[in-house]
Symmetry: C2
Subunit: 173 residues, 2 copies
């Protein structure tokens, strides 16, 4: 299946010059959704994943389905102020300023192999912060899975210690 044909590009969102990759057209297509999850499952079935972690909000969609399909737990990675119990956080740089993501301290047990799943790899800033969170909790980062990779933004360079798997690549904007 040509998954790229299921993605809608919306020009100038959220601001002038950005060609936004809209995954809702893929999510609405039950066959495309099923194919996407099957591809991930084929790749990770024998990779001994213990936990899947997914960043808020779109990372919840593919991360949760894949956790269920692989028969492992799901650990949400959240924006500040959302998680109620004891937690760790990690800051990362934005174009202007900083942002922060958080995980519960009990989300990952020491030595567990954690797969980080998100919809899209752009510059890799959030993903690297997510890997640091997993390591703070004593987990091992088993890899990164994305539906879409914007390879012209070179996010893989920030994740070069890890296995990175993506289903759709955009080599240019």
């Amino acid at each position: 299946m040509d998954l790229k044909s299921k993605i809608r590009t919306v020009p100038h969102f959220p601001k002038q010059g950005i060609m936004f990759k809209d995954i809702t057209t893929l999510l609405a297509d039950k066959d495309a959704l099923r194919y996407t999850i099957q591809k991930f499952k084929d790749y990770y079935n024998d990779k001994k994943i213990d936990v899947i972690a997914g960043p808020e909000s779109r990372g919840f969609i593919f991360g949760a389905i894949l956790a269920h399909e692989l028969g492992v737990g799901f650990a949400p990675i959240r924006k500040p102020g959302k998680l109620p119990a004891e937690k760790v956080y990690e800051e990362y740089e934005l174009e202007y300023g900083k942002d922060r993501i958080e995980m519960h301290k009990d989300a990952v047990q020491k030595g567990q192999r954690v797969l980080i799943v998100d919809d899209l790899l752009a510059t890799g800033g959030t993903s690297r912060a997510a890997a640091n969170l997993v390591k703070k909790l004593g987990g091992e980062v088993a890899g990164f899975a994305y539906l879409i990779e914007l390879s012209f933004l070179k996010g893989r360079e920030k994740l070069k210690d890890y296995d990175v798997y993506s289903l759709i690549d955009y080599e240019a904007e």
Copy 2:
């Protein structure tokens, strides 16, 4: 399985006096997650669902898994400014002020039966707004599914035209 025992109650979050129901302990438990989805699947298997809609962010988790399991598409219901294409919105009252949720115009086709899935039913404000969005798009609301219902907040009264199914009930705070 006693699903309620998998939920962690965190006192005084996000503010004094609130007994927050934390679902991350259930999500981390692969057997509890599997059991949860199986319960939903058993209930909705023969209910002719065409689409599942889930509100940002925790509604994405159970909504996406159940969409995949039932073999239907998933339509995200989002906070303002997140959806890039043509959309409809609905406002609802908060304790102080108003909030708004949005769906893409092409998220639901006319006549489709839409199940709305969220983690928790509290006062029902967001859920009723979600039902109104689905109807604006020409869809039929097939029902509401929740992991947790806080029945002491009487959210069902706002949804009395619809089938409401929840797996865990708190009759008192």
